[in-house]
């Protein structure tokens, strides 16, 4: 629970429900958004490309946070759900030449339905068995793309896309894509915040904490779990669609199990059960990935027998090590640490 500075009292329900309650919170959010809006003019093109990737990943990871962090359902298929969104958007835009304002939401819906089917197994199964169906989702996605007729999904050739268009604007440069992604990401994150303090979001949390108790209080547990997959996969689908318009080429290898593990790592590092944590985790891990990629040649000199594979190997070690380290040492992630810091700062000089 977020702690407020002393002296902040809600005297109306609207105030009590508000996400931002104090003026400093408004100011810092406004400054942060201003910084994000000005970012293309402040950083190099290379960093901007990374920022684009971060934004689109953030959408996917916020979706995973809803499924995993809020509803407590382990999901190892987020990357496959993302792929479904990307393929749906790709096919709708190349074959049926629908505008991207239509294809992106439809991609999200396609992914949501795909995720929902696997979430439905929550009718019968609990706990980690559920995670196994999401692994199966990964394999089935892979198989479907490669084995359906090439004229449908492009098979192993993949799909090449046209850039997104809105009115007279064509989103083909990094800067224009950045603003498109920033707006989408802001919308999705705001939606997640809204949803998590609605009835649905609170039902997610209740089911995560104890599904038997949640059932006793009248929450339809199965529907809530399936709903968590639906929402999480919808986010993945939106992210996948946007990613497809950014890379403008979709192939099945971009959406593998390994990526799902990365998303999981982002959640664990950032902190489970916190949307800001998901964003923080995405930022930090993506930044880490970039650092490893850029010092790759240096590492290659240290371990000469691996050559170019060292980047892949050290990424693996880094990711696995981070996940294990955080689970063992700081299972609530960095957001938890940050909240402790904030609370102790507010209470200073008292201990509690």
């Amino acid at each position: 629970m977020a702690m407020l500075p002393s002296g902040v009292f809600a005297v109306r329900y609207a105030q009590d429900r508000a996400l931002l309650r104090t003026r400093p919170q408004w100011v810092s959010l406004a400054l942060f958004m201003l910084l994000l809006a000005l970012l293309p003019h402040l950083v190099t093109p290379r960093l901007l490309a990374i920022a684009n990737l971060m934004l689109v990943t953030a959408i996917v990871v916020v979706g995973l946070q809803i499924t995993l962090g809020y509803a407590g359902q382990v999901n190892l298929g987020q990357s496959a759900f993302m792929g479904v969104g990307a393929y749906a958007a790709g096919v709708l835009s190349t074959k049926w030449s629908l505008p991207f304002l239509v294809t992106i939401p439809l991609g999200g819906v396609a992914a949501a339905l795909f995720g929902f089917v696997f979430g439905l197994s929550a009718v019968r199964i609990k706990g980690f068995y559920l995670a196994l169906t999401t692994i199966a989702a990964q394999f089935i996605f892979h198989f479907a793309v490669l084995n359906l007729p090439v004229s449908w999904l492009g098979g192993s050739n993949g799909i090449s896309m046209h850039p997104a268009r809105l009115g007279g604007i064509e989103f083909s440069t990094d800067v224009s894509i950045y603003y498109l992604f920033l707006v989408s990401c802001t919308l999705m994150v705001a939606g997640a915040f809204g949803m998590m303090r609605s009835r649905t979001g609170r039902a997610f949390i209740a089911v995560r904490d104890d599904d038997v108790a949640a059932g006793m209080t009248g929450i339809p547990v199965v529907r809530t779990k399936a709903m968590a997959f639906l929402v999480g996969a919808f986010y993945a689908g939106i992210g996948g669609g946007l990613y497809a318009y950014y890379i403008r080429f979709i192939s099945v290898d971009q959406f593998n199990l390994f990526n799902s593990v990365w998303y999981l790592g982002m959640i664990i590092v950032g902190g489970t059960g916190s949307i800001v944590g998901a964003l923080l985790g995405t930022f930090l891990i993506r930044a880490f990935q970039e650092v490893v990629t850029s010092i790759g040649p240096l590492l290659a000199e240290l371990v000469p027998w691996l050559g170019g594979d060292i980047v892949f190997a050290s990424m693996n070690i880094l990711l696995g090590g981070l996940i294990a380290f955080f689970v063992i040492v700081e299972p609530d992630g960095l957001m938890h640490r940050w909240n402790i810091l904030k609370a102790s700062y507010r209470l200073w000089p008292f201990r509690y």
């Binding site: 009718v123 995670a131 199966a136 594979d309 696995g320 996940i323």
Partner: protein, 294 residues
Amino acid sequence: MTDFLIYLIEGALIGQVYALIAMGFVVIYRASKVFNFAQGELVVLGGYLVWWMVLGSGLPAWVGIPLAFALAALTGIVIERIFFSRLVGESLFSMVMVTVGLLVLLRGVFLVIWGAHVRPFPMIVPMRPLILGELFISRSLLIGGAVTVVAAVGLSWFFNRTTAGLRMTAVAEDHQIAMSLGISVKRSVAFAWMLGAVLSTVGAIVFLNGKSLSFLASDIGFAALPVAMLAGLESIGGLILAGLVVGIAQGMAAAYLDPLLGGGVSTVLPFVVMILILFFRPNGLFGWKLIERV
């Protein structure tokens, strides 16, 4: 008819290889309640250890293989020491997440130690097939099947009939209750990983015999998953039957469906089977049915 028989026997025997690999999952689950996502990596570890001890160091197989087993067991204990000893009493979620971390971590470590290139795997069992009339049966698969059955029967007896095994079974049921009965969860988890690593090494020998070895061999871990699910994660004996079912289904799909539908059906079929099992019989054929009381 002969073709059909060959597909049937091959399928059944390959199913037993899956069952052997799946035994790694089940053993770790049966002694610690942790679902090990890194099973495939343990198989790769076993493979590399055998390669290292037999081809890499030039030791004769009868020295090298026991050494590889010993090293695998040691690695299992090290994994417990580093990753799990501090997690006793933590949520199951944490423990399983650690195995997800292990999945990628081990892959990276193997790459750094042994590199990415493909290596030949030593031929422990001769490749010459066994000829029965018109049937050619792979000798390594046959021996693998026998090993699976022996291991399944032995481990089943161990977990269901001996005191030590029943202690671990209690750990798999509930960590807290087991601890309150004076059972060491740590020791059980350590034993689970030791046994899991050794079984994976056996699996690697049977699976990789005379083939090539690279870090990509870990895919077998996920391919064996449906077998473990069909048997139910708690049943070791059930693996034999589940292995037969999945193996034969896959063999038949490879023989008769792949040519029609353009390949790949046999790879995805086990997963479809797995989902169906999870929908209709979530505890598998022989899994424990848990009764929840509030």
